[in-house]
């Protein structure tokens, strides 16, 4: 593992490296998950006689290491360890994080999973596409709606006719 194996050296305040505070959140998340894995392991009972590896054995190891990694990450963060965010073709890291767009996309995805049993994929799929294009800044609404409907109805029929897999039709049962 990296630097945290040695104790943090004290440096004058002026030399203190920049700290990425959000990483503390990730460290806390790791400790939390690890803690839950440990708790879950403690609720498991002994396995059968022919089970040489107890069901909780791996859980204990994984949980403990997760907690350890969380602590190590927190120490590394405090010592100025910075993440290298992933780059990509359409990623522009010189701008700030656009939380609004991400939240809108997440809302669109939640709407899809909440409505899919009632309305069916043919409708929610189109809503998903239109909603996502809108959230990402497209303003060609008519075209987006046409493409979305074509995609969702098309994929429903493609699954039904070509693959022989009927996707639950929801409210459109009998119409499609």
């Amino acid at each position: 593992m990296t630097t945290p194996s040695t104790t943090p050296t004290t440096r004058p305040e002026t030399e203190r490296p920049l700290v990425d505070r959000a990483q503390y959140g990730l460290a806390a998340f790791l400790v939390l998950v690890g803690g839950y894995v440990l708790y879950d392991a403690s609720t498991l009972e002994d396995g059968f006689a022919d089970q040489p590896v107890q069901p909780y054995a791996v859980s204990y190891i994984v949980g403990a290491v997760l907690v350890l990694l969380g602590v190590l990450l927190a120490i590394a963060t405090a010592r100025g360890d910075l993440p290298e965010s992933e780059e990509g073709e359409d990623v522009d890291l010189t701008q700030g994080t656009d939380i609004r767009t991400v939240a809108l996309l997440a809302a669109v995805l939640v709407a899809n999973l909440a409505l899919i049993n009632w309305l069916g994929w043919a409708i929610t799929g189109a809503m998903l596409f239109v909603g996502a294009t809108w959230a990402l800044g497209s303003r060609t609404h008519v075209r987006d709606v046409c493409v979305g409907v074509a995609l969702s109805v098309g994929s429903w029929y493609a699954f039904y006719v070509l693959l022989g897999v009927p996707i639950p039709a929801g409210i459109l049962d009998g119409v499609l």
Binding site: A22, G80, G88, L105
Partner: protein, 506 residues
Amino acid sequence: MDLLLEGFQQALTPTNLLFACVGVILGTAVGVLPGIGPAMTLALLLPVTYSVGPDSAIIMFAGVYYGGMYGGSTTSILLNTPGESSSVVTAIEGNKMAKKGRAAQALATAAIGSFVAGTIGTVLLWILTPRVSDLVVKLGAPSYFALMLLAFIAVTTALGRSRLRGFIALFLGLTIGLVGTQTGQPRLTLGEAKLADGIDIVVVAVAIFAVGEALWVAAHLRRKPLEIIPVGQPWMGREDWRRSWKPWLRGTAWGFPFGALPAGGAEVPTFMSYLTEKKLSKHPEEFGKGAIEGVAGPEAANNASAAGTLLPLLTLGLPTTATAAIMLSALTSYGIQPGPLLLDNEPGLVWALLASLVIANTLLLVINLPLAPLWAKLLRIPRPQLYAGILFFACLGAYSVNFQAFDLALLLAFGVLGLAMRRFGIPVLPLIVAVILGPKMEMQLTEALAISSGDVSTLWSEPVAVAVYVVIGVLLAAVAINGLRRPTPAPTASGGPVDDKELVER
């Protein structure tokens, strides 16, 4: 040999040939789309293969695999922004060539080099797979346990700059792998009956690759248009051929062994190939300005290592790249148990796959060279529609596994995890490999200890296992030495002005 011919017979039936064509075209089309690498292409197209038979599906997959890789190199040459780590090196010289008006030659040497390397790699697979298979059937559970441990350590330490983040990804993956009732009691199911069978790997893969990427791009969408270099029909002059053929062969020689090792991956061989070509070139002054050798070598190394990764996948059931991990989960979803007995149990299937690799490679050359200008047009697809489409197909893929809204909730949850991983620079590969191999590793351990009736020393009772532990020890020692050496330069490096600027503007 007979088996190989039978494989060709099976792969060359009109239906399967059609599936191979569809696979190549779909794979290239999806792979060319910006932001989508070969692994994500496979993950998104996984549902398409559900209702066709295993042999057709595997053949289609081979097409998607090669198509996706070729599509990825097209993107990195024409856009200078590689979709994944293995095409980083291609982009260095490839994009410079394209800017000098030699995009056609860059695409041609990439395509033909991929074909040459892929073909040689496949022939090597024909020779090596049965032999390695014969060797590994003799291995017992202790050796498998050690090999899986090696795969974990290798994918975690070989990639990325931060080992800590590699291990975080690995153990998050192991946690996801724990979910379910494989051991007789519900583990980490949160009292949810739908989690009793564990979390479907398709949902995890699509979420981490596709949804995570879409959300990450949404958070940092480039508002200014990218410069895309127009391209005509790819072709190469006599001089280009003369300068390309040796790099192709040397790239293949670098790529295949690295891919075949359980610690594989295309990053190291592509980089080594680039350095080799730079050293051996008669035109060293052109490097950094668009040298054709710098495209030909790494691109061949990339494809040869992709062929190489199939060796541990088919003989040991060990995936060493994200793409191989998805292929493994595809095999598993057809009820095929990858591992040492695969070749014995499913000889027809394996040989059909090995034969179809050559067919896919040939189709790629025949279909894609003429279609290159069309693929280049795909790069202009408006980004809102592109990423909305990715989300659409990701949801369709996850939903089609069981037709349950619950899977869509998992998709969103793991998508957010994928977003966080990209934000914090946590590599994706160790997580995916851990999700797949974690439960298998527990099984091997159980099996080994059951045979020895609980005696732990059985774990180092086989010579292969001991050898593998030595390799793991050397790897970990190397990492530890690096880690101890780092603290001195680290404060200046991590607090440097570049990082400061990046963080402030984030």
